[in-house]
Every structure is written in structure tokens, then in C-alpha cells.
Subunit: 111 residues, 2 copies
């Protein structure tokens, strides 16, 4: 995967959220495992490492899901040492898709 | 398809929106043609017949899309004469998924 060096951290590429369409966002969020990740990050006060979120899939499948979320502009990923950290791009996302994330999170207990 | 008689109108079965999960709703709305239908009904002051909404698919495919939306609790269908009419179940849907429909419709120009 292409990475750039910044301040000694490997930073994978992140799209500008303003270039992301609703179709890509919905394709990312239609998957329940990916919604689970977003819910955990939504609730977390700080960035979370990939391994911290318990998911019912293999590690490589989980990596794929994080990748899809990053490509859809939903999460920011960066390394701290060997840990890949994840944070929701909530402000940027809310600016492009007002109210969508909070509406989805409010309904997330409805399976 | 099973229909019930009510006031001389054939009424196809409609689920209670409160029994519908977010997963089913997102699977319905991830399809751009179905979002197009929902957008048209969202903007329409009155129920709309199936043929009125221009869609880039065959008539039988369109019928399938309307069916998926009905099963997901998003639209109500009923007959007036030989016309199958469609209306958004907006109040019921908003009660179960607060803010979701308006957030999606606000972003619907973002492809």
C-alpha cells in the first residue's frame, strides 16, 4: 500500500471527504461489520487501534473493512509505532453529509 | 402476490415499520434507483403512480425496486383503478429512524 512519510509516521492515503459521493458512503455503511467499527469509533473519545475493536471476522477481513471505511472518507488511519490507529473523521464527514452519521448511530441498535 | 381487499382496493402487504431493522433499510437505500424513487416520493405532495417516475430500468425491474422499498417499510402502495400508487411512509419511518431520511435526501445530489 502506498504510504507517505510525515513526522516519522507512515500515513496511508486519505481522500478529501468533499469528493466522496453518497453512493460510496452507503456501500461502506451497508456492511454491519463496518457499521460496528464506525459505532465504536463514534463512541471512543480517542483514536483506537485496529486490534482493540472486537469483530467477528479474521484479521485480514477486518483490515479490508477498515480500508473501505478509509476510502469512503469515514475514518482516518495513522501509525503510532507499530499500531495502526483509527479515528472517525466526524467533523469533515458531518460537513459533507449533515446529520447522516448521527441518524445512523441513533438507529444502530436496530440491527 | 398476496393482496387483501379493503374498500374495493387491492392492498399488498405492508410491514410494521417498527419491526424493520437498519440493515434492511440500508440494503434498500444503497441502490441508486431505489434512492431515486424515494427522492421523487419525498418531493411529491401526493401519492404517485409507478409509471410517473422515470427510471433507467425496465418496467419489471422497476416493479422489483418498488417491492424492495415496500418490504423495507419505506413506501406504501395501493391501487386506484388499475394504477398502482406509491407514497412515502415518512411519518412512520421518521419515528423509527429519526433524521435518517432527511439526511439522506439532503445528500442525494452527491450521487
Amino acid at each position: 500500500m502506498a504510504t507517505t512519510q510525515r513526522g516519522g509516521e507512515r500515513v496511508p492515503p486519505h481522500p478529501d471527504v468533499r469528493t466522496i459521493g453518497l453512493q460510496q458512503v452507503l456501500e461502506a455503511l451497508v456492511d454491519p461489520v463496518r457499521r460496528r467499527i464506525v459505532s465504536e469509533l463514534y463512541a471512543a473519545p480517542e483514536p483506537v487501534s485496529c486490534g482493540t475493536i472486537e469483530l467477528p471476522v479474521s484479521k485480514s477481513t477486518a483490515t479490508h473493512h477498515f480500508h473501505v471505511l478509509r476510502e469512503a472518507g469515514l475514518i482516518r488511519q495513522f501509525y503510532v509505532g507499530t499500531s495502526r490507529m483509527n479515528a472517525l473523521r466526524r467533523d469533515e464527514f458531518d460537513e459533507s453529509f449533515p446529520g447522516l452519521l448521527s441518524a445512523l448511530m441513533a438507529s444502530s441498535d436496530r440491527a
